[in-house]
């Protein structure tokens, strides 16, 4: 529920912001006023949410697990961080918005998907008849850009970083799209062939961005930052030299092992982790070590009896007839170790962890 509120808060800020901003008139090929934004707002909200859900999935077994607070992308918070995780959140949110808008376009939710014809200066009709409309993705990208990027009003390095990461998120959607072709020539031969780009599952975008997250570039721009024109020029120059597909961050990440109220970090205590299982990948198998061991916490094994459905008969939709089965599952949680010893260890492991991070 909390997350829903966050999403609406986010959209509210967006809308409030749109009203006050006059810079739109330059690029308003699709909309004529705030009312037009309302058409997209539900899609934008859904998109942002799907982005955060994906973020949670991707970081389920990481120390930082994409808490709700991460969603606060607003410009108002002066405590905004500019670390690797922020970069990912920005990217996945803008990707989510773009993805949802594109998808909803295909549902027929919007009137002018893809048919902007800004090149010919014509709208709808003739362009569609002559050469068809451009891809829905282009539409999704444009609207996502206008919505999400509008949150950044500043011109400092942080704003530049966020804009860059938003762009990286949108590029990730484009980059993971699959090209599909259909042959329909004489007797179905390939003399005539039509190809199109198809949206992947959003999970693909998440996986792609997670990889980018691991390879995120650090840019050192915070020191000696001023708002002078010279430094602004330097920022622009720095960011333009980085590929728009890469995630960028300015700060190092804080220690996510410990609870930090000022930064709003919950710490890893009490988190669940995975230890044994036949089909876990490397990252998941090491999750207990990462979340508990390296943070100076002990792993506690808890056995729980779970009731789950089994022997189900499914239809392709809606009807599921199941029996109730009970089974005992073993879960692992991070718990505090008793005494001073644990803390020392934790400090040691943190240092080790820092070294590891530098290797990236």
């Amino acid at each position: 529920m909390f997350m829903h509120l966050e999403v609406f808060y986010y959209v509210f800020i967006l809308l409030a912001h749109m009203r006050s901003c006059y810079c739109w008139s330059v690029n308003n090929f699709l909309m004529t006023g705030p009312k037009a934004y309302l058409i997209y707002s539900s899609s934008v909200a859904a998109g942002a949410q799907s982005g955060i859900e994906e973020c949670k999935y991707q970081f389920a077994w990481d120390r930082w697990n994409c808490p709700e607070r991460a969603l606060q992308l607003s410009t108002h918070s002066s405590l905004r961080s500019a670390n690797r995780e922020t970069a990912f959140v920005h990217a996945i949110s803008s990707a989510g918005v773009m993805y949802t808008l594109t998808r909803n376009c295909s549902l027929g939710d919007f009137d002018n998907c893809g048919c902007d014809d800004s090149r010919n200066g014509q709208r709808g009709g003739h362009g569609w008849l002559w050469g068809g409309c451009s891809d829905n993705v282009g539409f999704g990208e444009a609207i996502s850009k206008q919505f999400v990027d509008a949150l950044e009003t500043g011109q400092d390095a942080r704003a530049a970083m966020n804009l860059h990461n938003n762009e990286a998120g949108r590029k990730a959607v484009k980059g993971t799209m699959q090209r599909t072709c259909k042959c329909h020539g004489v007797s179905g031969s390939c003399t005539t062939q039509t190809c199109w780009l198809q949206l992947p599952e959003f999970r693909e975008v998440g996986n792609y961005l997670k990889e980018k997250y691991h390879r995120a570039l650090k840019v050192d721009l915070l020191r000696g930052a001023g708002n002078s024109a010279a430094s602004r020029g330097a920022i622009a120059e720095t960011f333009s030299s980085i590929s728009r597909k890469e995630l960028v961050h300015l700060e190092d990440s804080p220690d996510y092992c410990l609870e930090n109220r000022t930064l709003g970090l919950p710490g890893t205590e009490g988190r669940e982790c995975l230890k044994k299982g036949k089909n876990l990948n490397k990252w998941e198998k090491r999750s207990c070590k990462r979340l508990c061991g390296e943070c100076g916490l002990a792993v506690e094994e808890r056995k729980a009896e779970m009731v789950s459905s089994c022997n189900c008969k499914f239809h392709w939709c809606c009807a599921v007839k199941c029996e109730q089965c009970r089974k005992t599952v073993t879960k692992y949680f991070c718990v505090k170790k008793g005494g001073q010893r644990g803390r020392n260890e934790s400090a040691g492991s943190r240092r080790k962890n820092l070294r590891l991070r530098k290797k990236h």
Partner: protein
Amino acid sequence: MRRRCAPHVLPAPASGCSGIKLSATRSCDSWFFFFFPPPFEVESQEQSGGGGGGPTARVVSAGGCSLFSSTLSRSFVARRDFSLQPFPFAMAGAIIENMSTKKLVIVGVILLLFQAFAFMVGGLIAPSPTTAVHYLATKCVDTVKQRQETKWFMPWGPNQCDKIRTFDEAMAKKIEANNIVFAVHIPLPNKEMSSWFQFMLVILQFDIAFRMHNQIKDGALVTIDVSLAYRDDTISKWTEMAHSFEQRKLSCNFTTTKTSENEGRHYECDLLPFMEVGSVAHKYYLLNIRLPINERKNINVGIGEIKDIRLVSIHQNGGFTKVWFAMKTFLTPSILIIMIWYWRRITLMSRPPVLLEKVILALGISMTFINIPVEWFSIGFNWTWMLLFGDIRQGIFYSMLLSFWIIFCGEHLMGTRLFAAWSLERGQVKMCESGLPTITELVTELGSHLTNNLQDQTERNRLSVYWKQVGPIVFGSFCLFIFDMCERGVQLKNPFYSIWASEVGTELAMAFIIVAGICACLYFLFLCFMVFQVFRNISGKRTSLPAMSKARRLHYEGLIFRFKFLMLVTLTCAAMTVIFFIISQVNGGHWHWGEHTVQVNSAFFTGIYGMWNLYVFAIMFLYAPSHKRYGDEQSSGQCITGDAGANSGEDNQLTTTITHVDGPTEIYKMIGKEAQE
């Protein structure tokens, strides 16, 4: 203007060898004969020797002929068959031979300009040929208990259906799968379809989520209850166009490991052909799809958890259609005019047209058939068979083109055979001996149909000679025609039909395609073999060229040139087609070139279409009989009487002319080289 004197056969008294004898008048070797293009001499031949009974061959024994006449009797007989008419196979004196280099170059440049223009029209004016539009089916709920047949579900706009976003919602509301209708409106809001789109085909894709306990069973079939409706304005009622129960085989695979962690991820499913309509006569189309479940009959059970239905509709772009029509409208009269011109020239000759000439005409007719822009009617009328008709027209043209290549090769193969006869006739024993193996080979190679020809002289020059080569073409295209009828023919009745949907259909379709493929391979083997034979003959005979009289040599050089020229042009065209095809396939569809966007696919279509039109045009123009034959009858008479004195006078004069215009000979050499490479 360069003229060529071709060798010709004259009646001569029999001597030495009994039976068939080959002869040519010496007088024809003289420069004088440069004035007389071969076809005329054919005519004179017919008049003087053949009488009413058509041309007959006169074979005079050469010096050493009697030495091996017995062994050669069979080959002589075969040869006789070739030499019945002086130039039975090759159309002697085509424009291409009589044209000066300069003019040939001018014609080539003009054709190249048109070619470039055709590419530019496609690349710069036309949009991309087709557009793919994505649709995501809206999940409507059929709330009415008793299903009304006439009820249509609109995904958006006024009167839209009760929608659900996800199936979790349906689960919560206890909606059953049988009450869910997937609705797709084509096109998307604020747009309308147009008859300029020519055709529309729709592809179906399921988004199926992986569940540990609800996986797709092997060979799962999905049964689709689909209906299609149309209307022409936004307020009127929907009219049903088609309704069908279709089965499609799901071929999905799950790329990641099948673990509970990966639940919810989607399968990767192959595209399913869904619908194809041959004309887009209406403005709005509505598809309502149901996936009914019947556990008793095992319908739609074990197909996994369907999350979404995605459709991709493909139609031709209106702009491309317009450019295409314009091109067709422009090309039709140009091919038609050259065709009429060509046939008029053929009929003006007193001899009946030879096979090759007929085949060229047939090629022109099939090109015109493809060109005639009957598609204009599809704008006004709802002719759904236009797609099928287009396929048939293309098929006819392709098979005609393939047949033309075979026959062209074949006729030149025989044409060069004549050559052996000519070297014999000159009384050179050495030549005769060197020609011997070739002749024997010739007979064995050509096999039985040649001996058959012997029995009936009129059979020569007929299509039936080529049954072995043309057979595969006809059979292959017939197979493809049947396949096309099974697919697109049935689609006239039921737009949702797909031959690939059923097991039997798939096997049948594969059988047709494989047979057609085998035919194509067979054809190309024959063609390659024939081309190889022609080249071998050419290179074999080239050695004997210097020993010949200049006039005859030039004639044979003309034959070789004609063949090599067509080989070169054909190979260039074929290579261009293949190269541009690959480029258009590999490339994303368009290039950015400065401010212009070049539509590579459109350029491919217009360019290649223009190219084959120009190819046919050039063949009809260049291979038409030269007009120089007309009105030269008197001088030909001189040829026959063989006024040696008059000849010698003009000899010098002509020699100088020849040295001036030696260009074409050089071209022959050049082209010969290239063709050999």
